[in-house]
């Protein structure tokens, strides 16, 4: 059974090659190959998950594969499955399959339809490879495959300059993180001589990492484990779009919507959290590790800040993008305070409902776009004559879609409630566990501690989350249609709504897999029992958090309040009117609307600085130093070459000719020895042997 683990990432990879090499001209065949491959992966994954879940005290199955034997150091490229991997295998292939099916409808009629399915297959292969990897090397390779694919997919409609720029931005920004991750990996290998997780997590290795210290000059002496952990976290910050490297993710909305769902729900952003969670023993190797504090702090800050930005955005996908950043912040902060199970739980539930929301928003955008064309035709205009700019992503162009797209509407509502954290949907249980963990710790440690900060940011973020989601559904689904396009919308095809319904079903029930044990009637704490002991080898264990009715009740109440406020404020928002929050918030609104000016800050500092340095380099090169040196060197070389040529023709050639003539003459003389008669040769050989024999006898 577990031998099939290899197939899980290999099948989408094969489908990528099959599509690129053979099936490219045939669109229907391409998408069928892609869906078939991911579907098979999904089946195998769930079979594996089933085996893991039904085996009592399942620990680890590892299938190592020696890849690069270099002396006695062997780099392994193995795959493994442990409960943590299993829970990821439960989520990733399923969500991917849903997105693939959805894409088949969404990408209909795109000229690069086959290529799209090739890219997403490769992307999925990367994510699945990351999940099943038993070592950081294979994980990193998969990670980079994903980075490449995100570049290709965000820039999928590369004829749009904005998409092209977004792709470049995503690639460059995540690259910063990737370099850090690679450094961390190299450092880890240097310290331990291995990159395989189960070897790293042996107690003596962890002990060594914690004991060895390195001096960082003014920053003081730090344990190696902290440095490595911070470098790995740097990679995760880039990939999971945490502050300050979050800027690429909202722009990534330029890609096709299924890609947004793929990136923001199941795969790429989850990869960062996954890697941090997977290497959590390194983070926690030192008591009170500053690496964990950094994770918790950045996570909490991101969770709150991204949520504030989200309330001031008009683009439906941008709101969801900032929401994703914010939710990833929740996961990070959970990991930062040691809430491994809570973080993973939220990762899983979030994957489902965020995929649902993105696919739902795609469905909305899709139908608004079609409605726009329909409206244009109804007005007697021909498509193409319609020159004025129309943004199908803008929520201000929507409204009243509730009755026109019932399936999308109801599934969207489920996703919204889950994201806002309304009991008893999945988002409630996972977010509540994070907050309860933080609450419990801060009760223990007092107000001046990281858990309090985490709890405060998390709770405030939850209110804001509920508010912007309320605002969104109010703007999109309630009220009257604000444009002709919204008037002409229709429900999307079944290939798009079916995945929505499937994801919605999971969103409804998934939370029950980890209801805290002290909760009446349905308490089980299953996930806790399942993955709580993953790092037992590294002496890292997690205690279950009891359900806290104060925290749970408070967050549900706040969620409902936020949702209600957002909904009430925006449901009858008239077309063209300014945002009702713009006046009361004043300058704060402008800051939020402009996303804290982070992009502007980066272009003023990093980008402009780079350009200034580049032009300085250019000057240095072109007119000041390098070019004159090169010119001078050229002239000098020419003179030297002339001298060389004279030397060559007279001295060298003369010598060579002499050798040739001499050899010729000498050969003429000596060739006479070569009679060609075998008896002649033999008698010479015989006489020589005789001479040797004589010497032997005389001795």
């Amino acid at each position: 059974m577990f031998q099939l683990l290899w197939l899980i990432p290999a099948l989408p990879l094969l489908s990528f090659f099959a599509i690129v090499l053979f099936a490219n001209p045939n669109k229907r065949l391409s998408s069928n190959i892609a869906i078939g491959a991911i579907g098979l992966s999904w089946l195998i994954s769930w079979a594996v998950v089933f085996r893991v879940v039904t085996t009592p005290h399942f620990e680890l199955v590892d299938l190592p594969l020696a890849w690069m034997p270099a002396g006695d150091k062997i780099l392994h490229l193995g795959v493994m499955v442990d409960p943590f991997t299993a829970i990821m295998l439960f989520m990733v292939p399923f969500v991917c399959t849903m997105i693939f099916v959805y894409s088949q409808g969404y990408m209909q009629g795109d000229p690069r339809y086959s290529r799209f399915f090739a890219y997403v297959s490769l992307f999925t292969a990367g994510m699945l490879g990351l999940v099943v990897a038993d070592n950081l090397l294979l994980a990193f390779i998969s990670w980079e495959v994903m980075g490449l694919c995100s570049y290709l997919l965000i820039g999928f409609w590369f004829e749009k300059p904005s998409a092209m720029n977004a792709a470049k931005k995503a690639f460059m920004t995540t690259r910063i993180g990737d370099v850090l991750l690679f450094l961390g990996m190299a450092y880890l290998y240097g310290q331990t001589g291995t990159l395989t997780f189960k070897d790293i997590f042996r107690p003596e290795v962890m002990e060594k990492l914690a004991q060895t210290t390195v001096s960082l000059g003014p920053l003081g002496t730090q344990p190696v484990a902290v440095i490595i952990a911070l470098l790995i976290f740097g990679g995760a910050v880039g990939k999971s779009a945490q502050f300050p490297l979050h800027v690429w993710l909202p722009d990534a909305m330029e890609g096709p919507t299924p890609v947004s769902a793929l990136i923001h729900a199941a795969t790429m952003v989850a990869a960062g959290v996954y890697v941090v969670a997977r290497t959590l023993p390194i983070f926690a190797a030192v008591e009170g590790s500053s690496a964990l504090v950094a994770v918790g702090f950045i996570g909490a800050f991101t969770a709150f800040a991204a949520a504030t930005i989200a309330i001031a955005q008009d683009d439906i996908k941008r709101v969801l993008a900032y929401s994703t950043i914010s939710q990833l912040g929740y996961m990070m902060m959970a990991l930062g305070i040691g809430g491994f199970v809570a973080g993973v739980f939220h990762l899983i539930t979030h994957a489902f409902f965020k995929a649902l929301l993105f696919l739902g928003s795609g469905s909305v955008i899709h139908s608004v776009e079609h409605g726009h064309h329909a409206a244009a035709e109804a007005n007697g205009e021909h498509p193409g004559e319609h020159e004025e700019h129309f943004d199908a992503n803008d929520m201000m162009n929507m409204g009243g879609l509730r009755t026109k797209m019932p399936a999308t509407f109801w599934t969207y509502i489920i996703g919204t409630l889950a994201l806002a954290g309304v009991a008893p949907l999945s988002g409630f249980w996972s977010k509540d566990e994070i907050l309860a963990e933080a609450f419990g710790q801060f009760m223990h440690k007092g107000v001046a501690s990281l858990p309090f900060f985490v709890w405060l940011m998390g709770t405030l973020g939850a209110v804001l989350t509920a508010f912007y989601m309320g605002r969104q559904i109010g703007l999109v689904f309630w009220g009257k249609p604000r444009t002709a396009a919204a008037e002409h919308t229709h429900e999307s095809p079944a290939s798009m709504t079916a995945p929505l319904i499937a994801l919605a079903a999971f969103t409804l029930v998934l939370g029950f897999m980890n209801v805290p044990e002290n909760f009446p009637l349905i308490g089980n704490g299953w996930l806790h029992h399942f993955i709580g002991e993953v790092f037992a080898a590294a002496h890292l264990e997690f205690e279950a958090v009891p359900f806290n009715f104060l925290v749970g009740g408070l967050s549900t109440l706040l969620a409902l309040l936020g949702l209600g406020a957002g909904w009430a404020l925006y449901k009858d928002h008239p077309a063209g009117a300014p945002d009702p929050l713009a006046r009361p918030l004043g300058p704060i609104w402008r800051v939020l609307r402009n996303k804290y000016y982070v992009d502007e800050f980066y272009s003023a500092t990093v980008v402009r600085g780079t350009i200034a340095f580049a032009s300085l380099c250019y000057k240095f090169d072109d007119s000041w130093v390098i070019d004159p040196i090169v010119d001078w060197a050229g002239k000098g070389t020419a003179i030297f070459a002339t001298a060389n040529r004279l030397f060559d023709t007279h001295v060298i050639d003369g010598t060579v000719n002499f050798i040739g003539i001499f050899t010729h003459r000498w050969g003429d003389i000596t060739r006479r020895i070569q009679t060609g008669r075998v008896q002649n040769y033999l008698v010479v050989a015989m006489a020589s042997a005789l001479a040797l024999f004589g010497v032997f006898l005389m001795r």
Binding site: Q674, T675, G676, R677, V678, Q679, L682, V683, M686
Partner: protein, 104 residues
């Protein structure tokens, strides 16, 4: 037999070898050369048998060597004669001095 010293056999064998060598290296006729070589092989065989009889009479190795050597000689004679015939056909001579393709 016991009253014949081993060295007698060795001397006769070396004499036969040298005669064969002279024949092989000095005759013009290719078949003459071949016959010289056969005689040289015979001289060696005498040595092998003599050593077997006088030094290791319990082991079979000496006789086995001789039998292998005789077989090789037979094969050599067959191939050698075939070569000589082939040369004779193509060049119309058995004078080995006319066959000096190896020259230059």
């Amino acid at each position: 037999m016991p009253d014949i010293p081993l060295s007698w056999y060795l001397i006769v064998a070396s004499a036969l070898f040298c005669i064969g060598l002279f024949g092989a290296l000095s005759r013009r006729n290719a078949i003459g050369i071949l016959m010289g070589i056969e005689v040289m092989l015979n001289a060696v065989n005498i040595n092998l048998v003599a050593f077997w009889r006088y030094i290791t009479p319990q082991a079979l190795t000496g006789q086995v060597f001789v039998i292998v050597s005789i077989t090789v000689a037979a094969a050599e004679a067959a191939v050698g004669l075939a070569l000589i015939l082939a040369i004779f056909r193509s060049r119309d001579t058995v004078n080995i001095e006319d066959v000096h393709l190896m020259k230059w």
